[in-house]
Amino acid sequence: MSPLAGYLLVAALLFAIGLAGALTRRNAILVLIGIELMLNAANLNLIAFWRFGPHPEALTGMMFAVFSIAVAAAEAAVGLGLVISIHRHLKTVDLDEINRMKG
């Protein structure tokens, strides 16, 4: 098995763990944690492909990953701000109880 496959499998596993966390935890913030894990898994994929793919000198993969990190940071900031705001209004962050958008 080539190293790339190893890294990819690890990334997949991390992704699945992150997804499981996002789907099963009650706390909204822990869902966000799961989402961060998924993003990180994707970043690992990107770097792995950059390293073992054609033309690594073009820096495409690394740039992609760096930008992804920047965006993930922004998203985490806004998302957590939203969670805080929800907590202020609904006095809870338990996702099982939040169904105001029920339609």
Partner: protein, 167 residues
Amino acid sequence: MSISFYILSALMLAGGLGAVMLRNAVHCALSLSVAFTGLALLFLQLDAQFAGLAQILVYVGAVAILVVFAILLTRTSEEIGESNVFSRTWLIGLILAAAVFAVLGWAVLRTAPMFPQPSAAPPVTVQEIGSALMGRYVLPLEIVALLLTAALIGAVIVATHEKEGAK
């Protein structure tokens, strides 16, 4: 596959598992930091030094802290000693995650014979990265700058206490 790969992967995966499974939310956040660190070390091993260090700076230094702040700000009294931290439908989520892993794993293993063999490490200097950012990737750079500005302002607005009169 060197031994460091396995150790670092195990570290990272353990940190991830801890992040999603621990009962105390703060413990989850800390476990998350461990996962981030493990990942950063993996980046270093992949000769992506800039990405790895950026990972530590941003994720461990900012995102994890932010998560901790958020957890602390949204604590309610019943959260400590809560009966169940997992939602009512945890099984379906688990099954789905497993399905996703299965599909991804299958995709990887199917195409594994086509993967190229490892080559020499590419020379990546910060200067090159800087020129790339200012040259080829200047547009995404500017857009991300705009995005970050918007996110900053947005987060502040969303999280600010509303004025008493506007309620």
